[in-house]
């Protein structure tokens, strides 16, 4: 039986256009506000880049969107499901590559991916083929029987990305996926992500410090600083509004040139005067 609400969604179409919809999302850690009343929408099938200096609140936002952290207040709808109340159905809609480590070092690379494929209910018939493909994309197929503890940092990162590619979520969150990877690997990964986006209509939600990556790949951009969204739109719109030539210049103009430390509790920001802030390379 089709529920009346569902019919309404199908008929009007508008409710499903935004695969992700966030309203007045706020997260407080004790009395420190990491994410401060942000609202935005992400269109189904688009590539959305969420940019901001260290400590701006990007990861905290992603953790709330992916049910890992409970918001202090606000509403999140993913793929039409309320991420706070219909957690299981929301979870079935997304995949995520976290910013920090999330592998089991005591298992082999292959075992890590199989574990993932099973808990994400990838059909048995397709499993080995998809795993092989994902590991080949990141160049780890030949090292699949190695224990993860023997992997280098870059290899671990590639494995985490491969893992997120074995189930085909509606929306894929990538929190600084390419940090520490060489240009060849970054290129291969972005090409694959772009093809997933084009061929499967998979929505991509990413954060990165490489402005040229964001500029090249993103349809829509939001810039967050001190827990507030300070600018959003297409790359062109942002460049026009800030009267700059590149996204990097626009970013620096909007967020200032001071260097930030992330993860400094209490008050998160330290400024080092007179030094030019550069994106991490």
């Amino acid at each position: 039986m089709i529920q009346p609400l569902l019919i309404e969604k199908i008929v009007s179409g508008s409710a499903m256009q935004n695969i992700l919809s966030v309203q007045s999302l706020t997260k407080k850690f004790d009395d420190f506000t990491a994410v401060n009343d942000i609202s935005f929408n992400v269109e189904a099938g688009s590539i959305f880049a969420f940019l901001g200096p260290n400590g701006a609140g990007k990861s905290t936002t992603i953790k709330m969107l992916t049910t890992v952290l409970r918001p202090t207040s606000g509403e999140i709808s993913i793929n039409g499901f309320n991420a706070l109340k219909e957690q299981d159905r929301a979870r079935a809609s997304f995949g995520i590559v976290f910013q920090d480590h999330s592998l089991d070092d005591e298992l082999t690379a292959y075992e890590n991916i199989v574990y993932h494929a099973v808990i994400y209910k990838v059909p048995k018939k397709e499993r080995s083929e998809r795993i092989r493909k994902a590991l080949e994309i990141v160049g780890l197929w030949d090292r699949r029987e190695d224990y993860v503890k023997k992997y280098s940092g870059g290899m671990k990162r590639r494995l985490e990305i491969a893992r997120a590619l074995v189930h085909y979520p509606k929306i894929l969150f990538l929190d600084e996926p390419t940090v520490g990877l060489d240009p060849q690997t970054r290129n291969a990964i972005w090409n694959h992500i772009r093809s997933l986006n084009k061929e499967r209509g998979m929505t991509i939600f990413l954060t990165t410090h490489y402005m040229e990556e964001a500029e090249a790949i993103a349809d829509q951009i939001a810039i967050i600083d001190h827990g507030k969204i300070i600018e959003s739109g297409t790359v062109e719109e942002i460049k026009n509004r800030t009267e700059t030539e590149s996204l990097e210049e626009a970013f620096l103009k909007l967020t200032g040139r001071d260097i930030r430390d992330d993860n400094v509790p209490g008050n998160k920001m330290r400024t080092i005067r007179g030094m030019r802030r550069r994106t991490r390379r």
Binding site: R91, H101, Y115, I119, K121
Partner: protein, 250 residues
């Protein structure tokens, strides 16, 4: 559903088999207890009980002890998963929190059972004999219930802990008293009222008593009472664990 539980279970057994040091290390303590207590208190026990064999009394206690510690540790492993970041991977998956609880409980309980069986065979070497296959079967049921209860307890505690800082606290003020006041080492008779009371609310008391009744023919409360108590406590702790797991943040 079943495959998800299987893969969670499998991961824990893979961890267990691969760390041979942990496997061997955790046999040291039961062996030490069996030998020192067994031979040290044997003569005293024989005098006090009018000719009883202390090894018959002690063996079920030490088997329970090894299950208790292995099970609690397996449950608490979730704290390591949290610290190393792997817990997130499981928690964001579209699987029910009850499945996670069941998979992890069965994984930890299986390891504790294996450990208990190894210790049980050590007691055989030291002269302990189980009267019949039927009593061995009943004994395995009790071993499994002890394993399930304490893995569930470990998981429940772990779901509330952010890091390993509280570990010593839990060992010294919860697990050690549970062990020493369970009647695993000495009969719970002629105790001061406070100690007596604690021993009666200690879940392991009923596990040890049931196991001892099953494989050594000595029970204070009656095997079926023990079975009912430790069985319902196991279900209760797993239910509480599942609820707490549904609120957990990584």
């Amino acid at each position: 559903m079943t495959e998800v539980i299987y893969i969670l279970w499998l991961r824990q057994l893979q961890h267990y088999w691969r760390s041979k040091a942990r496997l061997l290390g955790s046999l040291g303590q039961p062996l030490l207890f069996l030998v020192t207590f067994g031979f040290g208190f044997g003569p005293m026990y024989a005098r006090a009980s009018g000719g009883g064999n202390y090894m018959d009394f002690l063996a079920p206690g030490i088997v329970s002890m090894s299950i208790l510690f292995t099970a609690v540790f397996s449950g608490l492993e979730v704290i390591w998963d949290r610290q190393f970041g792997f817990l997130k991977e499981t928690l964001v998956a579209p699987i029910s929190r009850t499945e996670i609880m069941i998979g992890k409980t069965l994984g930890g309980a299986s390891i504790a059972m294996i450990q208990g069986l190894i210790v049980l065979s050590l007691t055989y070497v030291l002269g302990f004999r189980i009267p019949s296959l039927a009593s061995l079967g009943l004994g395995l049921v009790f071993m499994f219930l002890i394993a399930v209860f304490f893995t569930g307890l470990g998981l429940t505690i772990a779901s509330k802990m952010k890091d390993m800082h509280g570990f010593q606290l839990i060992m010294n003020f919860l697990i050690m008293p549970i062990f020493f006041l369970s009647g695993a080492l000495f009969p719970l008779e002629n105790l001061p009222p406070a100690i007596y009371f604690i021993s009666r609310i200690d879940p392991l008391t009923y596990g040890v008593d049931g196991l001892r009744g099953a494989i050594a023919g000595m029970s204070v409360f009656g095997i079926y009472n023990d079975l009912a108590i430790i069985g319902s406590l196991s279900i209760l702790v797993c239910a509480i664990g599942a609820v707490l797991f549904s609120r957990i943040e990584a």
